[in-house]
């Protein structure tokens, strides 16, 4: 008699093992959620610092720090051993949203609200929105 068709344990054990391995792989890609949350926090700081330091050499320092953050985090990302399901589309969407929010923040902030910190705080929230939304999606996909 084929144990696969007669014993309830053989297929059940296989299904349990499938769930265990698939879950472990999914959880291993949670780094992307963390990355997006750090990116969101850094984006908020970038926007507020840009507004606070507008017209001073401090803006160049902030821009340099941002470039360093992006470079270091990018290296960290490519060294991760797994990639979350649908990562290309998710990352593209987050980056498009972030770029649009950043352009709006800088253009409107420097032309309509120059020197108004409130706008840059709002801009910080706007630029953080896309990565936070991405982190929520990433959390759901890796649960």
């Amino acid at each position: 008699m084929d144990p696969m068709t007669s014993s309830p344990s053989a297929p059940t054990v296989q299904l349990d093992e499938v769930a265990r391995l698939s879950g472990a792989a999914r959880r291993s890609s949670r780094w992307y959620r963390t990355y997006l949350l750090v990116f969101a926090a850094a984006s908020f700081v970038l926007a507020v610092a840009t507004g606070l330091l507008a017209g001073t050499p401090g803006v160049a320092v902030v821009t340099g720090l941002w470039a360093a953050f992006v470079a270091v985090s990018s290296v960290w990302v490519v060294r991760r051993p797994t990639a979350i399901r649908g990562m290309k589309q998710l990352h593209l969407g987050v980056m498009l949203g972030w770029t649009a929010a950043w352009v709006v923040t800088v253009v409107v902030g420097s032309t309509v609200f120059p020197g108004q910190l409130g706008w840059w705080v709002l801009g910080g929230v706007l630029t953080a929105a896309a990565p936070v939304a991405g982190a929520v999606l990433a959390h759901r996909r890796t649960a």
Binding site: M1, D2, T5, S6, P11, T12, Q14, L15, S28, P81
Partner: protein
């Protein structure tokens, strides 16, 4: 009596011969949870040697179920494994058959011996 699905066939006919091997099932299960995974990650998850994984991946690749991408991160060579769309479909079909067999076997065990026979 032989347990069968609505088509009259026993669900074991739906099991995929390529995926059914335990190590290959583990490899595919690991890859099913992600877009792609590094070779070393899969090796550690499945707890086999490099050469054993290479052999099983070659079978899966030949069946069109897994894609293998080689590249570099800095100076270190990396190999990435991913489940193809065809592989994901085959895996889901295999899982559905396994689930059905497990359900039928449980049902047979609950109703008593001698109610299930291999076709």
């Amino acid at each position: 009596m032989t347990p069968a699905d609505h088509t009259g066939r026993h669900p074991r006919h739906e099991l995929d011969d390529v995926i059914h091997a335990p190590v290959r099932l583990s490899v595919v299960a690991t890859l099913s949870g992600v877009d792609k995974a590094e070779f070393s990650f899969v090796r550690d998850a499945v707890e086999i040697t490099d050469s054993a994984l290479s052999k099983q991946v070659a079978v899966l690749e030949q069946a069109g179920y897994v894609t293998v991408t080689k590249g570099y991160v800095g100076k270190r060579p990396r190999t990435w494994l991913a489940l193809s769309a065809e592989g994901r479909t085959a895996f889901e079909r295999h899982l559905a058959a396994l689930t059905q067999i497990a359900g039928q076997a449980r049902q047979a065990a609950a109703t008593g011996p001698g109610t299930v026979s291999a076709p």
